[in-house]
């Protein structure tokens, strides 16, 4: 059997977590190459539908990263993210998908190391979970 290489999607908000990912790059912090970033302006604009779409098509894991609570560039946008993503996870769980495939976390523009740590941890977690069963259906 060939080694499982997870395909992971990350939604990063423009102001904090995308900038944190940039900072990780500037500091040459090495991390596994499985994560593909989609830039959005605010984590609150991430629809649950995007997460469902990715997971149902076989993406092995989805990260939603935003600014820390209190630091949102759009005042209270991430308060909504903080409520929406747990609900998204619950729906996934209810339809029989391991909700550990979705992770919400906060990474500030100054936290390159935190970004690296989140990526390393999440990739490791997804590797232990194995391929998304939806892969069989779609990939």
């Amino acid at each position: 059997m060939t080694e499982f290489k997870p395909t992971i999607l990350a939604f990063c908000c423009n102001w904090c977590s995308y900038a944190g990912a940039d900072l990780a790059g500037v500091n040459r912090l090495q991390m596994p190459p499985n994560v593909h970033v989609i830039r959005v302006m605010c984590s609150a604009s991430v629809k649950p539908e995007y997460v469902f779409k990715a997971i149902s098509q076989g993406v092995d894991g989805v990260l939603v990263l935003g600014c820390h609570i209190g630091d949102c560039h759009y005042l209270t946008g991430n308060h909504r993210t903080a409520k929406r993503i747990p609900v998204t996870k619950k729906i996934l769980h209810d339809v029989g998908i391991d909700d550990r495939r979705v992770r919400l976390d906060w990474v500030s523009a100054a936290e390159g190391e935190k970004f690296q740590q989140v990526i390393i941890e999440f990739v490791a977690e997804i590797k232990t979970l194995g391929p998304n069963p939806q892969r069989e259906v779609n990939m």
Partner: protein
């Protein structure tokens, strides 16, 4: 739909090309749907790189452009401008980050990095195919500026603004202007009188009818955005709401109180540098003085070098050494950071004048012992390899500068980031100095990082120059990333109205049909309303669910190809 996408992969010298096989990505891009041309540049952002992109747009009749290079956060405006110059609407440009998000973080995995770059390019191309041309709208700018902080940086910034004829409100917490300079005798290395400097700037400010100085006041609320902020200034006579086009943060710094260190707070002879300045200002000339530098800085928990303390130590050591021929001035330091040729000269002059320098390491810091009237500093001398005891009338601790206590509050009010020590973070040290990533808010002086008076003045002027640009232009461009509502799909449920952090959406009656409507001038383009809508009636320009969905599809498809 028939689109012609041009894809340009950047080598960024070795930065990308050392990990990503650029030619392989180019060949891959050629196989993607809608791609009419794919090429590569050594440096896409150079004159030559931009020129070749523009030429290619004309030659290949391209109507969409994808550049895979560094980060949109710094370089997007540059490439958008190039597209515009070549006749393509700048919103038909898509940026793919294969440097910060790929080559730099997978430096030792060239194969994986190349595969990832291909997927990221595929995602960018998929989004680009669905981009739509947009028109930017404009908003007016209130020709007034607010400067927070009446230290030297804020004073200079305000003076420079009123000099340009801009109405300026200066908000100072205390009742005196000049900040830390009020407590300082002279400014090194030239020895300029601090108070004269402050007086000159204040006089200039007060002479202008455009100046409004708010003493014993603080900013309690900030609403709005570039061009039309509303700043609430809480003063002695209650709150005043000031409309402003730009805001400058000059909240300065404060001295660290080294309580418990080297007997500070216990022996009256142990004081900080600022307290010494006050003594010097009163004409005191202590003869036996020991300076200790890096007290509370460059150690775990507060790792930074405060930059100004070495020069202040040198300046005061030299002044005391010159003041009386029988003085005994000793400087116990970890390293002397006298950056700049003038400061280097000051260091040499100080050591020539008879001031003795002893180096200490963190593993063996000096000790201060007191027998009532006198204090002794016991220190291990690295050069002599023995412990020496220095008697002193005064021990002066060079302590680091800290951000003001309320910098967290200021940061939250203005929605601007701070680093882990609490200093403010500007948008980009090299590309956008003195600017915050938040448009219309600027930063200068020691609130950003400890700087000396001269640098405060430069930065104050720089921030004023930047702040005056939108005010003088009289208009700002609103990025076309605002939300829009499809009234056909809208059920007028009001979810988006509640979700919007800017109160930019309202339910209106249009020909008997109730639907949500976005006020473009108020919309900041966060997209919160998009996810709040149950009917997919709201979308954000440049981030539509179609575009993001296409990116997900492209990732799935590219991963499928990669896994076989």
């Amino acid at each position: 739909m028939m689109v012609r996408i041009g894809v340009f992969i950047c080598h960024c010298g070795h930065n990308i090309a050392s990990a990503v096989d650029v030619e392989e990505v180019v060949e891959y891009a050629k196989t993607l749907p809608w791609v009419a041309h794919a090429g590569h540049n050594l440096y896409s952002c150079s004159e030559e790189g931009l020129g070749s992109i523009k030429r290619s747009i004309t030659e290949n009749k391209l109507d969409r452009v994808v550049v895979a290079a560094c980060t949109p956060r710094t370089h997007e405006p540059l490439f958008r401008r190039a597209c515009e110059q070549a006749g393509i609407n700048k919103y038909l440009f898509e940026f793919v980050n294969i440097r910060e998000h790929c080559s730099w973080i997978h430096a030792k995995e060239p194969k994986e990095a190349t595969e990832k770059a291909k997927k990221l390019v595929a995602m960018g191309v998929a989004k680009a195919a669905l981009l739509k041309p947009q028109t930017e709208s404009e908003a007016g700018v209130i020709p007034t500026a607010v400067v927070i902080g009446g230290g030297i940086s804020g004073l200079v910034a305000a003076a420079s603004l009123v000099e340009q004829g801009i109405e300026t409100h200066l908000v100072e917490q205390t009742d005196r202007l000049g900040g830390l300079l009020c407590d300082i005798t002279t400014i090194g290395p030239e020895g300029r009188h601090a108070r004269t400097l402050v007086k000159d700037v204040v006089q200039k400010l007060e002479a202008s009818p455009k100046t409004h100085i708010h003493r014993k006041a603080r900013v309690s609320d900030v609403k709005g955005f570039i061009g039309s902020f509303e700043v609430t200034i809480e003063g002695c006579d209650g709150p005043t709401k000031v409309p402003a086009g730009a805001i400058i943060v000059a909240t300065g710094t404060r001295e660290f109180a080294p309580t418990g260190e080297y007997g500070f707070g216990e022996h009256p002879q142990v004081i900080t540098q600022l307290e010494l300045e006050r003594k010097l200002a009163m004409g005191e000339k202590p003869k036996r003085v020991v300076f200790i530098t890096c007290v509370g800085s460059r150690q775990p928990g507060r790792e930074y070098c405060s930059r100004v303390c070495c020069n202040v130590t040198l300046k005061n050591a030299l002044a005391l050494s010159k003041a009386s021929p029988d003085s005994r001035i000793r400087v116990i330091h970890r390293d002397i950071m006298s950056s700049g040729s003038a400061a280097e000269k000051l260091y040499k002059e100080t050591s020539d004048s008879g001031v003795r320098f002893l180096r200490y390491g963190l593993e063996r810091p000096p000790e201060v012992v007191s027998d009532g009237d006198r204090v002794n500093v016991i220190v291990y001398d690295e050069t002599l390899d023995e412990v020496v005891s220095l008697d002193a009338d005064l021990v002066v601790l060079a302590v680091p500068m800290l951000p003001p206590d309320d910098s967290e509050v200021t940061g939250k009010l203005l929605k601007v980031p701070r680093d882990k020590f609490g200093f403010f973070l500007e948008a980009h040290v090299k590309l956008r100095p003195v600017e915050f990533a938040t448009d219309g808010v600027f930063i200068c002086g020691s609130a950003r990082w400890p700087v000396n008076a001269r640098e405060c003045i430069w930065q104050g002027m720089a921030a004023a120059a930047k702040a005056s640009i939108p005010i003088k232009e009289g208009k700002v461009v609103i990025q076309a990333i605002t939300a829009e509502v499809d009234p056909e799909k809208c059920a007028a449920c009001g979810n988006c109205v509640l979700a919007c952090p800017y109160e930019a959406i309202e339910i209106v009656d249009q020909d008997g049909n109730r639907a949500a409507k976005v006020n473009e001038a108020q919309c900041k383009g966060c997209g919160t309303c998009v996810a709040a809508c149950h009917n997919d009636a709201v979308s954000q320009k440049g981030f539509t669910s179609g575009q993001l969905g296409a990116m997900i599809d492209a990732l799935v498809k590219a991963s499928l190809e990669g896994s076989r």
